[in-house]
Amino acid sequence: MTENLTTVEQILERKSHPVVRDASIAPTHDMHDLLLELEAKGEIILQRVPEPYVEFTTKYGRKKKIPIEHTWHHKSCGHCGHIPGYASSILWLHRQFNLDYNDPTDQTSCTGWNYYASGASNAVGQAAVMSRNFAAAYETGYFPMIHCGTSFGHYKEIREQLVHHKELRDEVRRILGKMGKPLVIPEEIVHYSEWVYAMRDRFAERQLVDMSAITATVHPACHYYKIIAEDAIYDPEIYGGQRTAVVTALLEKLGINVADYSTWFDCCGFGFRHVLVQRDFTRSYAVLRKIETMINEANPDVTITHDTGCVTTLDKSQFAAKAHDRKVGVPVLSDAQVAALAMGAHPFRVVQFHWHSTDWRPFLEKLGINWQKYWDEFQGDLDQIRAGTKSGITWQDADQPINLTA
C-alpha cells in the first residue's frame, strides 16, 4: 500500500514497476495481420514458425515467436570473412543441445552492403535477393534464422516494402518465377540473438566457466532495435523494459556484471557508407564515443554485442587509436561467443579468439583460462593440416565442451 510511503518512496515505488505495454494501443500496424491478409489473398506463402518455439514480447506489447530448432542458418558475410568464431559459436551452441538445424551452402549474401553503403542496387533487386533466400529456406522445410544484425534490419525494411507495395511483390514474383521459386515471407524475421535470449537459461545450466568476476558493457546493434523498432524484444526484467533485452539478459544469466555507460544508445560507428568512404570517421567514432567512454565510465573487461558490423568496428578500430595513445584495449565479443566460452567451447577451434584484434588475453586470464595451452592445441591442429594428415578442424574436434579453468 502506498499510503504509508513517503512521497519519494511513492515515486520510487511507481518507477519500480515496469512500463505496461498494451498491444491494443501500439502505434504501428501489426505485421502479422498484414501477412495473414496477403496469405489469404494468395499473394504470398507465409512460412510458419515451427514448434518448438517460445513467445516473447516486443516493444509495443505484441508477441514474437522464436523457434528453438529446425532453423535454416542465414549466415553473415562479415562473420565468415572477419570473425568466423561468431558463426562457429552459434552452430556449436545448437550442437550442444542436439538441436536440428540446416547450415545451407547455397545461401547468398543479404546484400545489405548494397542497401546501406554502396547504393549499387535497387528496391526490386534487394527484395528479390531476400525473397530468394527465404524461398530456399522454405524449400528445405527449415525456418530462416538470421545471423547478421544488418541482414536482420535490412530484411525487416524489405518486408515493409513488400507488404505495402503490390507492384514490388509482382515484380519480385516474376523474378523468382524464373528460378522456379515462390514468394515466401516467414511469419517472423528472427535474429539469432533472440534465439540466444530464448536459450539463456539452458546455457547457464551448462556453464563451466565462472564469469562472476567479469564486468561487461553491452553494445546493442542499431539494426536490431532501431530499424523497424517495434520488432525487437523488450523484457520487463531487463532495464524495466526500457531497453532491448537481448544480450544483456544473457550476460546477467551467466553471472556477468553488466555496467552502464553514457553512450549506450550510440551507434558503434560502422555506418556502412561511413566505413567505405569515411573510414576515419568510423574509427574515431567507435573509439571516442564508445570504447573510451566505456573505459572511463565502466572499465569493462569485455564488451559484448550481437551484430557483425558492431563486433568488427569496435574490435578492429582500437589498434589504430592505440597508435595515437588513445585509451583503448577492451576486447569485443558477440553474445554467442561468450555463451559458448562459458559452456566450455575451445577458445580457438570454436570461439576463434585469434581473429579478434584487441587483446583478449587479459580477459581469458581473468577467467582463469590457460589460453596458451589451448593455443598450443590449436597450433597442433594447424601442423596436422599442413602435414596433410588432417583436412581441417571438424565438429568432432570441437563439439566436446572443455572444463577450461581446470
Binding site: 518507477k15 505495454r21 502505434p27 552502464d260
Partner: protein, 353 residues
C-alpha cells in the same frame, strides 16, 4: 421509460462541474465515480497549484466537490463503474456496479467525463530512462514534492541544484502515435519551474522545448515572470537521451538556437508527460458504443465541428479531457455546455413524451 435524470460518468473537474450545472439548471444528476473520493486527476495525482491561477489544487477540488455533495439535486455514487448500457436518448438503461452491488439506472442523458491519464514515459521511443534512473521523474511526481515543499533527488534525498524539464514527452510524436499537442504541459512546466526557484533559491532550472505554448494570459502571468523574475532558462532543442554520468544525469540533445548538439549534466530531469485517453475513457467508449478518434479520445464536435460536447450518439455528451487535451478552463467550460445540452435534451424528450 423516459427519464429526466442526467448520468455523469466521472467525478473529476468536468464531471463535478457538469453535475453542479445540471442541478443549477433545475435538473437531476447522478454522478458516478470509480474511486472512493471526488476530484479526479488533480486529486489523484496530488496537484499542488493549478496553472494559471496558482490556486491550491486540493482546495479548488474540495470546493468543486462540496458544490455537488451538498447539492440535493445530485446523487453521488462512489466506487461505481458502468458495466453496460441500452436504450436511446431520453430513455437509457445503464447497468452499474457500485461497490459490489449491481444496479440499473434509468436516465435521459449521459455526460462522459472520464478524463485523461498522463502519458507513461516508459512507452516513448525517446530514451529517457524513467524506469531506470531514480532522478528522472514526471510532472506529477514533482507536483507531489512541490506540494509538500520538499523537492529532493529520489536517489539521495538531497535538494537538486540543476533541474531540467523535457517538454513534449508523449506528445507531438509520430512514432508513438500521439501526434497532438497536450496543451497544458508548457504552462505546467513553467509554473513548476517558478515553484522550484521559489523553494530552492540556489537551483538552476532549465526547460528544453520545441515550442513554448503559452496561451492567453499564461504568456504574461507565467512565461515572462519565469524568465525575468525567476531566471528559468528556456533552451530550444529536442532532448534525445538521458543517461547516467557519475552520480548525475547526462542530457543529450540539440541546441537549435546555437545550431549545435549539446550534452549537459543535471541532478534531476522532469519529463513533461502529455495527456492520453484514460483507461476509463477507452472502456466507456466501448461500453456506450460511441466513436473514438484515432488517438482513443471520445470523438466530439458534431457534424459541423461546432458542437464540442456532442458524441456520435444522441443523448450522450462528453466533457473535459475525455475528448482530447484540455486545461482546467476548457474542462469547466465544456462541462457547463454539456450540462446545458443534456438538460435540454431530456426536457425535449419529456415534452414530446
Amino acid at each position: 421509460m423516459t427519464s429526466g435524470k442526467v448520468l455523469i460518468i466521472g467525478g473529476g473537474p468536468s464531471g463535478l462541474e457538469s453535475a453542479r450545472c445540471v442541478a443549477e439548471l433545475g435538473g437531476e444528476a447522478i454522478l458516478i465515480e470509480k474511486r472512493e473520493r471526488l476530484g479526479g486527476t488533480p486529486d489523484r495525482e496530488n496537484y499542488a497549484k493549478l496553472t494559471h491561477h496558482w490556486r491550491d489544487a486540493s482546495e479548488a477540488m474540495a470546493e468543486m466537490a462540496a458544490a455537488v455533495t451538498d447539492n440535493p439535486n445530485v446523487e453521488v455514487k462512489y466506487q461505481a463503474e458502468v458495466k453496460g448500457m441500452s436504450g436511446s436518448a431520453g430513455n437509457f438503461t445503464v447497468e452499474i456496479e457500485a461497490g459490489c452491488v449491481a444496479e440499473s439506472l434509468n436516465v435521459g442523458a449521459v455526460i462522459v467525463a472520464t478524463g485523461f491519464q498522463h502519458f507513461d514515459p516508459g512507452r516513448a521511443t525517446q530514451y529517457y530512462n524513467y524506469y531506470s534512473f531514480p532522478d528522472v521523474i514526471t510532472l506529477t511526481d514533482l507536483e507531489k514534492m512541490l506540494r509538500e515543499h520538499n523537492v529532493v533527488r529520489p536517489s539521495n534525498g538531497k535538494a537538486p541544484k540543476k533541474i531540467a524539464f523535457v517538454q513534449c514527452v508523449g506528445s507531438r510524436d509520430r512514432q508513438i502515435g500521439n501526434e497532438y499537442c497536450s496543451k497544458v504541459c508548457c504552462g505546467i512546466a513553467s509554473k513548476q519551474a517558478i515553484e522550484l526557484r521559489q523553494q530552492i533559491p540556489d537551483s538552476k532550472v532549465f526547460i528544453f522545448y520545441i515550442d513554448m505554448r503559452m496561451y492567453g494570459y499564461w504568456e504574461n502571468e507565467i512565461y515572462w515572470p519565469a524568465q525575468e523574475k525567476y531566471n528559468v532558462n528556456y533552451i530550444k532543442g529536442v532532448i534525445s537521451e538521458v543517461l547516467p554520468k557519475g552520480n548525475q544525469l547526462l542530457v543529450r540533445g540539440e541546441d537549435t538556437t546555437m545550431s549545435r548538439p549539446m550534452e549537459v549534466t543535471m541532478d534531476m530531469i522532469v519529463l513533461s508527460v502529455g495527456m492520453e485517453p484514460s483507461a476509463g475513457t477507452r472502456a466507456i467508449a466501448q461500453l456506450l458504443d460511441i466513436q473514438q478518434n484515432k488517438y482513443g479520445f471520445i470523438e466530439a464536435g458534431g457534424a459541423g465541428g461546432l458542437d464540442p460536447v456532442a458524441t456520435s450518439k444522441e443523448g450522450i455528451f462528453v466533457a473535459g479531457a475525455a475528448s482530447g487535451p484540455a486545461d482546467l478552463d476548457d474542462s469547466i467550460s465544456k462541462a457547463g455546455l454539456a450540462a446545458a445540452r443534456a438538460v435540454a435534451s431530456v426536457r425535449k424528450v419529456m415534452v414530446m413524451a
